[in-house]
């Protein structure tokens, strides 16, 4: 019985954790009972004999249970290293701080392999601490020292021993080394290190430790080339952490994923992409202002991952978009409740948004026309499928997406009718009582009571004006602008006549005036030119100079409308922090010189 030993432990350690308090209580009780038992034994030596015979039976059964469960847990990580190294005897030795220090010294100064092996054994034990019953480590200092040292230095030491430069990050190096004696000697050590580290990743929950471990793993990613099985585990773990982790942890995991995808492009890119996509899909079912930022991060990082190999990822994108199209088609054809519900969801919207981001980032450098075309059709389909006023947020989103795609790809996407629809939403004259505060940006479908509020009317007018402003801003210097604006202006005039609310009347009026100014501007300049519509090149160069300077009043007006809408959206997002607001403002200032870029920024923020 090791009761004295455990007692000394408890006395040593005065930490205030709830567990240790409980431990102490249990210990006290245990001591009491043991004393009682001892007394009984002394009193009646026959009893101790009897006890021995019976207790053995009891103990055996209990131990057996424990052992079996132990074995189940430890799985393949368990004992391999012992066999590989043949240093089992050394391993069972206790490691103390001093020993670790000396070993560290040996390893760093002399590159002593055997010392390093011992350290790695200790490291393995540390990583498995808590799941295995080994008594190699006795105190927390040793534990942290070993972990820190190995995590810090292992990569460098391996590289030194193998003669690989630190900056070399090509997996071929490892594959070339595979047959050398050096490699054969070090292989078990590397494997042990990687495996233990991966195991450690699954054990620890603290985000900082995780992040640190991940950064170290990232440094030695090339070593995974020799262990494809471990690589799979690494991908799995890091994708899990990417999708579920917070802030920096998520970031670090993503860096690992990206590194893996970059280094092992041929083998692992698809796996990474598919797994990341799946993780994304399962994480984006709901959008609250709180997790909004996270989804944005996931989206951006996923797009970055895709950009590593656009060729491959566009294949995946095609498959995914076709799936979206299929769902939409089902919805359009059957109009069944479930199918429609599937489409009008954040998940669907986020998927579309994801691929929009991917397309708009890469369309300038790659030929992604088919994808662009497909996604535009899907967005149009979604907009048509949900015409009702309750789907205003979705409709607004659709038009924003189209505007975004149009500005990033330079193609013309007609959105005027979609935007004007918003103005024609007819609601019962519920009156202008101010509705309950409602977070417009985190909904995809409006609650019914909201439709009757005055806010809704206002929101409709605002949205229509903003959407049209973005659309017009893009083409305001195009030679066809007067025609482009003709029908919207006619509709807006009609609306202006009909509407009774003064504020929206004013808003619309101002918009019409500005657009007409724009029309007049373009028409005047157009009348001066001599070329015909056939002459595409001349048409392209039309008003390009003016567009560059961008100081015409209507341009400024469009810009102000867009900015206002952004701030309006931010205001409605009550839960978003002030900091974020500031950040976005800064961002806007950065890109103020070009309206189009601002538009991109805004769409991302919605």
């Amino acid at each position: 019985m090791g009761e004295t030993e455990s007692a000394s432990y408890l006395e040593d350690n005065n930490s205030e954790g709830a567990l240790s308090v409980q431990n102490r209580e249990i210990h006290i009780e245990l001591e009491k009972k043991i004393k009682k038992l001892d007394r009984l034994k002394e009193k009646d030596p026959e009893f101790s004999n009897f006890l021995d015979s019976n207790k053995n039976r009891l103990k055996v059964s209990m131990d057996e249970e424990n052992e079996i469960s132990d074995e189940d847990e430890s799985s393949d990580d368990g004992r391999e290293l012992v066999n590989e190294n043949g240093t089992a005897t050394e391993m069972s030795m206790l490691l103390y701080t001093s020993a670790v220090d000396s070993l560290r010294h040996l390893v760093t100064e002399q590159q002593n392999v055997s010392a390093f092996t011992r350290l790695l054994n200790g490291y393995r034990a540390a990583c498995h601490y808590g799941t295995e019953s080994s008594n190699v480590l006795k105190d927390d200092l040793t534990f942290s020292k070993i972990l820190m040292f190995v995590l810090h230095e292992a990569d460098n030491i391996f590289r030194k021993l193998l003669g690989i430069q630190c900056s070399n990050e090509r997996k071929d190096v490892i594959l070339e080394l595979k047959d050398t004696a050096k490699w054969k000697k070090l292989k078990p050590l590397i494997k042990s290190y990687l495996r233990s580290t991966l195991f450690f990743l699954n054990e620890v929950s603290d985000s900082e430790i995780l992040a640190f471990t991940l950064t170290r793993l990232k440094a030695s990613i090339i070593f995974f080339a020799a262990f494809p099985h471990l690589l799979q585990r690494l991908i799995k773990t890091s994708i899990h952490l990417w999708a579920t982790g917070e802030g920096t942890l998520s970031l670090h995991s993503f860096l690992i994923i990206r590194e893996v995808a970059a280094v092992f492009n041929s083998d692992c890119f698809d796996i990474c992409l598919v797994k990341a996509y799946k993780a994304f899909i399962s994480r984006c079912k709901f959008v609250e202002p709180v997790i909004f930022k996270r989804i944005l991060f996931l989206k951006n990082s996923f797009v970055e991952l895709c950009s590593l190999d656009v060729q491959k990822s566009s294949n995946k994108a095609t498959v995914s978009i076709q799936q979206l199209a299929k769902i939409l088609q089902l919805g359009l054809r059957t109009k069944k409740k479930e199918a429609v519900k599937k489409i009008c969801s954040w998940q669907y919207a986020n998927c579309i948004e994801l691929w929009i981001a991917f397309i708009s980032v890469n369309i300038h450098d790659y030929d992604l026309q088919p994808l662009l075309y497909m996604i535009i059709q899907i967005i149009n389909g979604v907009a048509v499928l949900f015409p009702g006023p309750r789907y205003l947020p979705l409709r607004v989103k659709c038009v924003q997406w189209l505007n975004h795609l149009s500005s990033s790809s330079g193609v013309f996407i007609p959105v005027a009718s979609l935007a004007l629809d918003v103005l024609e939403y007819k609601i019962g004259k519920g009156g202008s009582k101010p509705g309950k505060d409602f977070n417009f940006s985190s909904a995809i479908k409006l609650p019914k009571h909201w439709l009757k509020s005055g806010n809704f009317q206002e929101e409709c007018v605002f949205s229509a004006i903003e959407l049209l402003a973005v659309h017009f801003a893009q083409w305001s210097y195009h030679i066809s602008f007067p025609e482009l604006a003709t029908i919207p202006v006619i509709c807006l005039r009609k609306f202006h006549e009909m509407t009774t609310t003064e504020s929206s009347q004013r808003l619309v009026k101002r918009f019409i005036d500005q657009v007409e100014q724009n029309i007049e501007f373009v028409r005047k300049r157009r009348d001066e030119v001599a070329f015909s519509p056939r002459d595409q090149q001349s048409v392209e160069s039309f008003l390009q100079l003016e567009k560059g300077s961008g100081n015409v009043p209507f341009t400024q007006y469009y810009r102000s409308v867009i900015e206002k809408s952004a701030s309006r959206n931010l205001l409605t997002k009550k839960n978003t922090s002030y900091l974020e607001l500031k950040k976005s403002k800064r961002k806007r200032q950065h890109s103020n010189n070009n309206v189009d870029v601002t538009v991109n920024g805004e769409v991302d923020y919605d």
């Binding site: 432990y9 567990l19 249990i26 209990m62 450098d365 048509v384 030679i479 066809s480």
Partner: protein, 836 residues
């Protein structure tokens, strides 16, 4: 045991044995010997139910050809029936096994009657089976019903067997007390079953021999006055019977005079038969009409009425049936409405059955119905008119006939002129001849009347009658729609939401007008055009009230009005000269009000096709205005609409050479610009828009359209040459273009084959979207903190482990302490034992 064996025999009827009577079968001595030797095995032979076997076998063998087939069809039902029959026998047996005490107090063992009863029973059931089979064959109802009927008949057979057994029993044993007892035992359900049975029996008898059993109709009618379930059954059975026995002609009851005349026995019988049938039919129909009003029986009654009308539209009282059907044609009950509509449609399509008389009647009734309900009916009720067909060649054929006759006469005259001498020669002969021909003509006329072929004149009369009723209905609807929109623009503010609901009949009415546009009487066309124009929304110029009123019609409906107007004009082109300018103005403005999700794009495309592509006028101003408007239109709407517009635009440009000037930036519009020197995009009249002075700059933006088809179309238009006339006209119609590019189809088979597309890097720029890794450099900064966290982690793990260890230790010790108690007990025992 018996039952089981029999069942097997029936389940597997092998190749039918040859038709040999029992006497002819020769049993060889060897056979006999064999049987005698193996008595144990052959015992079953004696127990075989020869009755059933022979019945079964001979039954099938007797039949030939089609009958055989029918017999096989019946077999399935029979199998189960026989099974039930067996059950019946088993059920009857125990009753019979008991002795019956007669009134005199003697016990009466009915051993003898048993067998006879059995056989009788079997025969009866047999009959029943047969009949039920026939019943099944005749009443072709829905599957479910048939199945239900089958079930019912099975039950009937079973019950009948039982009942027959009992009645027979009663007959055989005159004891009244027993009878009363047995009768009491019959529950209400059994009564119902009995009624059902009786009904089936009667019906079958009627079907088997209508002449002699015609009286039973009345009996069957009695059932209709019963309670719920049996009434339904009675109605359906009667329906089946009537469907079968109604003759192919209309029955005319003999007049008094005729009744007085002496007639042969056969005629008398026939007369009796007819009059009975007719009166029963009348009663039946009356019953149906009454029941149709009651919701409980409505479905059954309507089904009966519809089926009867479909089966016998020529028969007496068909008008009553028609009336009932038309009454229900706009029913809110889907089933009833569908049924009635289908019936009316089949009336219209199969006019041969009733010579067209019913059609006229039906259309007239529908017209009245619409009138009575003030046009507030289900659209289906007017849509049935679409399945009318009018024979346009009817009049022509007659005219030809006339011509032929005329020619014949001429030739005859000529003949006469040629041979006057002959004529003079034998006057007497001639008169005889004339007599002969006269006779022949008379006979022919009689024959015609008998053969039920209406002459052309009659047909024509009926057709025109039908037409006038149809158009009366249509005009009524138009007028009503117009009145309701113009008269009370204020009143139905709340109707805005369901604009289509306000004029449910307008859509089918417009469709009908489109379809029958070539048949409209010229006198009406002027009015019709005015209506349509008003409905399409432009009776007064920019009057706000009219604008508001026209809002109650959707854009699609208004477009439809325009389309109908053009169709009417097209099919009556030679006859009139109505100014269609107004409709062009309407279309010019309607295009702007179109909204993709809300309105039907197909209608717009059709309007573009009919009004612009097929227009025969060559008005340059107008064409240019539409070219410009369509181009502008396609900048604002989805790809399908854009494509339809562009196709039309291209067509217009191809047809109007001068409009191609729009493609050139000709300073000042050149010589062609009309009296309006400057383009007015907001003008509402195409002729005042001055579109000829504009340039089609839209095409440049359309070239950048995301949809490849649209952008190629736009560039192909912009590269059209102005100078020479292109002969080639695009073959695709706007409608086709619209459906080709409609979203659903696009999603199904996208234009691009995406998989094949190459997404190679276009430029060499290797830009990375940074931003993510720039913001992190956290590795070394907080090493100490990390260390601390690691050691915390360690402590936590250790404590956890320690906790587990301590707990198990504690448990063990506690157990040991408990063991001490046990130990003490044992010790006591031992000491006790020791003491002993």
């Amino acid at each position: 045991m018996v039952k089981k064996k029999q069942k097997q025999k029936i389940v597997l009827p092998p190749a039918l044995p040859p038709e040999i009577s029992e006497d002819e079968i020769e049993v060889s001595d060897e056979d006999l010997q064999f049987v005698n030797e193996n008595r144990d095995y052959a015992g079953f032979v004696s127990r075989l139910d020869t009755d059933t076997i022979t019945r079964h076998v001979s039954r099938v063998a007797d039949l030939e050809g089609d009958d055989l087939e029918a017999a096989y069809e019946k077999r399935l039902g029979r199998k189960s029936q026989q099974k039930q029959e067996e059950e019946v026998r088993l059920q009857v047996d125990p009753v019979d096994a008991l002795p019956v005490k007669t009134l005199d107090g003697k016990l009466y063992y009915r051993t003898l009657s048993n067998t006879s009863e059995k056989s009788e029973n079997g025969r009866d059931a047999d009959d029943e089976k047969d009949d039920s089979g026939a019943d099944k064959g005749i009443v072709r109802l829905t599957k479910a019903e048939r199945r239900a009927k089958l079930k019912k008949s099975k039950k009937e057979a079973k019950k009948q067997g039982k009942e027959l057994g009992k009645t027979e029993e009663v007959q055989e044993t005159p004891q009244a007390a027993v009878l009363a007892k047995v009768k009491e035992d019959l529950t209400a359900e059994e009564v119902f079953e009995n009624k059902k049975l009786k009904l089936a029996e009667l019906g079958i008898a009627l079907l088997a021999d209508p002449e002699s059993n015609i009286k039973t109709l009345k009996e069957m009618l009695q059932f209709c006055k019963d309670d719920h379930a049996i009434v339904k059954l009675a109605l359906l059975s009667l329906l089946a019977v009537f469907k079968d026995i109604i003759p192919g002609y209309r029955i005319r009851l003999p007049t008094e005079k005729e009744l007085e005349m002496k007639v042969s026995k056969d005629v008398k019988k026939l007369r009796y038969h007819e009059s009975t049938l007719l009166s029963a039919y009348k009663v039946y129909l009356q019953k149906l009409m009454v029941l149709e009003k009651r919701s409980k029986y409505q479905h059954v009654a309507v089904r009966c009425i519809c089926t009867l009308l479909e089966a016998a539209p020529h028969f007496n009282f068909c008008e009553n049936l028609l009336g009932a059907v038309v009454e229900n044609i706009g029913s809110s009950d889907d089933v009833i409405r569908k049924l009635c509509c289908a019936t009316i449609k089949s009336l219209f399509t199969s006019e041969g059955k009733h010579g067209g008389q019913a059609t006229v009647e039906a259309v007239r009734l529908i017209a009245d119905h619409v009138k009575a309900h003030d046009c507030q009916l289900h659209p289906d009720s007017v849509e049935v008119l679409l399945s009318l067909s009018f024979d346009e060649d009817l009049g022509k054929a007659e005219e030809e006939d006339k011509e032929n006759k005329f020619r014949n006469k001429k030739s005859k005259k000529r003949k006469n002129n040629e041979e006057p001498s002959q004529l003079q020669e034998n006057d007497r002969k001639k008169s005889r001849k004339e007599l002969l021909t006269k006779m022949r003509e008379e006979v022919a006329a009689d024959y015609k009347a008998a053969a039920f072929t209406t002459d052309v004149k009659e047909q024509k009369r009926m057709q025109s009658e039908t037409l006038s009723a149809v158009f009366e209905t249509y005009f009524r609807i138009l007028k009503h729609t117009m009145l309701s929109t113009t008269d009370s623009p204020e009143a139905n503010d709340n109707l805005v939401a369901n604009a289509t609901g306000a004029h449910p009949l307008l859509a089918p009415c417009l469709n009908g007008l489109g379809k029958f546009s070539h048949l409209i009487d010229l006198d009406y066309i002027g009015d019709l055009m005015n209506y349509l124009k008003k409905l399409a929304g432009g009776d007064t110029n920019s009057n706000s009230s009219s604008e508001r009123s026209s809002k109650y019609l959707t854009v699609s409906e208004r477009l439809q009005c325009c389309i109908v107007a053009f169709k009417v004009m097209k099919s009556n082109l030679d006859a009139l000269n109505v100014d269609l300018q107004g409709f062009f103005v309407l279309l010019y403005n309607l295009i702007l009000e179109y909204r993709p999700g809300r309105d039907q794009g197909e209608v717009l495309a059709e309007a573009l096709k009919i009004m612009l592509c097929e227009d025969r006028q060559h008005d340059m101003q107008k064409a240019a205005a539409f070219v410009k408007r369509l181009a502008t239109f396609s900048l604002c709407f989805g790809s399908a609409e854009s494509m339809a517009a562009l196709v039309t635009l291209k067509y217009l440009l191809q047809k109007n050479v001068k409009c191609r000037n729009l493609l050139e930036n000709d300073a000042g519009g050149g010589s062609v610009s009309g009296f309006v020197a400057k383009y007015q995009p907001y003008a509402s009249d195409p002729n005042l828009s001055g579109a000829l002075a504009s340039v089609l700059w839209e095409l440049n933006l359309l070239c950048k359209h995301y949809h490849p088809a649209v952008s190629t179309m736009a560039s192909s238009i912009s590269s059209m040459s102005t100078s020479h006339n292109q002969v080639y006209l695009s073959s695709i119609s706007p409608q086709q273009a619209f459906t080709d590019l409609s979203l659903e189809r696009e999603l199904l088979n996208p234009k691009y084959d995406i998989r094949k597309s190459n997404s190679k890097r276009k430029k060499g720029s290797s830009k990375m979207t940074g931003g993510i890794d720039s913001s992190l450099d956290t590795s070394s900064a907080d090493e100490d903190e990390l260390k601390k966290k690691l050691s915390d982690h360690f402590v936590l793990l250790r404590d956890f482990k320690e906790n587990g260890r301590l707990r198990s230790e504690l448990e063990r010790t506690t157990l040991a302490l408990q063991l001490y108690d046990e130990y003490k007990k044992q010790k006591k025992k031992m000491s006790k034992n020791d003491r002993k």
